[in-house]
């Protein structure tokens, strides 16, 4: 857009200082709210994802193809412990651990329950999973070969069992043969996630491999990235380090836990209904301002048109004016909203009742809004877009303006 047109648009805004500031103020206000709420949401999602992934799948998993869909015992990662060790040394991170998994029947003296048993490397599982830290009674696994088990608190109650008690595991091995073992309960964990607390247990990977005839194989290597954003890149690196010819695949967390991503997306979308109302209110305020502003300038527009300036060009001037107001609102909204988010991202944010509620799910009682480009830009950009869109009507109306009639209009 050329020079003088731009100056003209900018100065036109300040012909009615107070009205422009009121409109920009409405934008800034809603932009701050949007920046704050969206950053809060993103912060909460990051926390939810991190917590869920830490307790379950991790950020990435190396698996046999097809394993994630039907969890068949024989779809294995061969030499899983060596592979995990190789990845740890190549990538230079300890947050990598081998796992194996089976469904089995676990019996105490009184009762039996079916559950998922995971074989883990005690030394490295603590690096990739939050579960070892959630053991509330006893301790986590220590020795790779020990005949020990850590179970969820609900399961412990259901089995009427406790620390030091023996449980019998019955299942089928990798080759489909009968597998059985006796283990001692050494720890009870409380994850806050009902499914895990009721139907999940961990045993040492070496012991698991012996019991289920795994022949050195497992079902996955879990990999954690330093942050969620780095997952994609790390996935590529892991892929390149996999042994050729075995057809192993790398899955991201959103593939492993599609429900989590869907739940987050659904929540995000539903929040936009509320944001939408705010944005529509701002758009109407812009519409009102620009209708008035165009009406006031009827005579001036008539003169300009009589000089040969087309209504289309004048319409673009009106859109530019709204765009400038919107940009001012965007800038100030991002500055103030960003400052708020940066501050709360540092101190955290809580409200009455949050702590108790979050505590039940082992979530922290404070939310840290996420200071991110998307959180800062998304809301204000949409407000800007809505502002310009709202001005299309006043701009298009200029096509019906007759220069002669317009010039006769009172100033």
């Amino acid at each position: 857009m050329s020079n003088i047109t731009f100056r003209l648009a900018w100065r036109n805004l300040w012909r009615r200082k107070r009205r422009t500031w009121l409109t920009v103020g409405a934008m800034v206000f809603s932009n701050i709210i949007l920046v704050f709420l969206i950053s809060m949401q993103l912060g909460m999602y990051a926390m939810m994802i991190e917590n869920t992934l830490r307790a379950q799948t991790g950020h990435l998993q190396v698996q046999a193809p097809g394993y994630k869909d039907d969890l068949k015992m024989r779809q294995v990662v061969p030499d899983v412990i060596d592979l995990a060790a190789k990845l740890r040394s190549e990538i230079g991170s300890d947050e990598i651990a081998a796992r194996a998994s089976a469904f089995a029947l676990v019996s105490s003296e009184e009762r039996s329950y079916g559950l998922q048993i995971s074989g883990v490397e005690p030394e490295f599982e603590t690096r990739v999973s939050s579960l070892p830290g959630l053991v509330t009674e006893g301790r986590f696994l220590e020795d790779a070969m020990a005949e020990e088990i850590v179970i969820g608190s609900v399961l412990a109650r259901n089995l009427r069992t406790g620390l030091g008690d023996e449980l019998t595991i019955i299942g089928s091995g990798r080759d489909g043969s009968f597998a059985a073992a006796v283990v001692t309960v050494v720890g009870v964990f409380e994850s806050g996630m009902p499914d895990m607390d009721r139907g999940f247990a961990e045993v040492p990977l070496g012991f698991f491999q012996d019991t289920f005839y795994m022949e050195g194989a497992g079902h996955s290597v879990v990999v954690m990235a330093p942050t969620l954003i780095q997952v994609g890149a790390l996935g590529g690196r892991v892929e390149s380090l996999l042994p050729a010819g075995e057809g192993l695949v790398v899955h991201n967390w959103d593939v492993l836990l599609p429900g989590l991503k869907q739940a987050i997306q659904a929540d995000f979308v539903s929040a936009w209904f509320m944001y939408g109302i705010l944005i529509i209110l701002v758009a109407f305020s812009v519409l009102n301002t620009q209708l008035m502003s165009v009406l006031e300038r009827t005579k001036e527009f008539g003169i300009t048109m009589s000089l040969g300036v087309t209504p289309g060009r004048l319409g673009r001037l009106v859109l530019l004016e709204s765009g400038l107001m919107g940009s001012l609102g965007l800038l100030l909204g991002i500055v103030f909203g960003g400052a708020l988010v940066a501050w709360l991202g540092h101190t955290g944010f809580t409200y009455p009742g949050l702590e108790e509620m979050a505590g039940q799910f082992n979530l922290p009682g404070r939310i840290y809004p996420q200071f991110s480009a998307i959180g800062l830009l998304m809301g204000p950009m949409i407000v800007l877009l809505a502002s310009v869109t709202a001005s299309i009507y006043p701009a298009v109306r200029l096509h019906w303006l007759e220069p002669v009639a317009a010039m006769r209009a009172a100033e």
């Binding site: 050329s2 003209l8 003169i303 300009t304 048109m305 009589s306 000089l307 010039m407």
Partner: protein
């Protein structure tokens, strides 16, 4: 060649039940390089005729040619384009854009015409000097006298050297001295660049400069007076 040719122009305004005659079978020819006054008492149809010639308003019937080209059949966009490139308008009220400086008012039209920035700057400097506003280019309309504003409006109208300038009572708000200065400017432009001027007025101070005065009354041409300039 003829700069302006009108044949049998008619225009009737409807104000509720009342019909008001704007133009009544006007025939008119104006030569290129002409310096013509349209003289009529208020309500005589001067503005209506100028607007028709300038393509701002369409007559009910009749034909108009500008430099040989039929314009009463053109669409809105084509008319706007014609005004932009071939006609300069000067109004009674100076009609400057209040938030732009004198120079910017002049350059705005050039910008719309597609004149590049350095050329705009050069031309606006030259035209400001020509209309006697050297050094006042950075003033806003509110910081200038009526005469100065009208000169900016004239500069805006003529900066791209249109073949035809249409002025509607350009001196009505000016004192005698300023009015005379403006007319001298018009004459100079007319003589230097061969620009055709059609000036609607009922101001005797203006008519003194005209080479030809067309008298109108109630939308009709009643007299066509050719004279040697006083």
């Amino acid at each position: 060649m003829k700069s302006v040719t009108c044949k049998q122009l008619c225009k009737t305004y409807h104000q509720g039940e009342v019909e008001v005659i704007g133009l009544d079978h006007v025939d008119l020819e104006i030569n290129e390089g002409g310096f013509v006054c349209l003289s009529a008492p208020s309500g005589g149809g001067k503005t209506t005729l100028l607007n028709a010639i300038g393509g701002l308003d369409t007559p009910d019937s009749g034909k108009i040619w500008l430099a040989g080209e039929r314009i009463d059949t053109l669409g809105k966009g084509e008319l706007a384009n014609m005004r932009l490139h071939r006609i300069g308008f000067v109004f009674q009220a100076y009609n400057l854009i209040p938030v732009l400086t004198a120079r910017e008012n002049i350059e705005f039209v050039m910008e719309v015409q597609g004149v590049p920035a350095d050329e705009r700057e050069k031309r606006s400097t030259a035209i400001l000097r020509e209309v006697g506003l050297e050094g006042l280019g950075d003033r806003r309309p509110a910081q200038m006298s009526g005469g100065q504003q009208q000169r900016v409006a004239v500069a805006r109208a003529i900066v791209s050297k249109p073949a035809l300038v249409l002025a509607d009572e350009p001196t009505a708000n000016l004192d005698s001295h300023t009015a005379e200065q403006l007319m001298e400017l018009f004459v100079e432009l007319n003589e230097h660049h061969g620009t055709t001027f059609v000036i609607a007025t009922h101001d005797q101070r203006v008519m003194r400069y005209a080479k030809r005065v067309i008298h109108m009354l109630d939308g009709k041409v009643v007299d066509d007076e050719r004279r040697d300039v006083a």
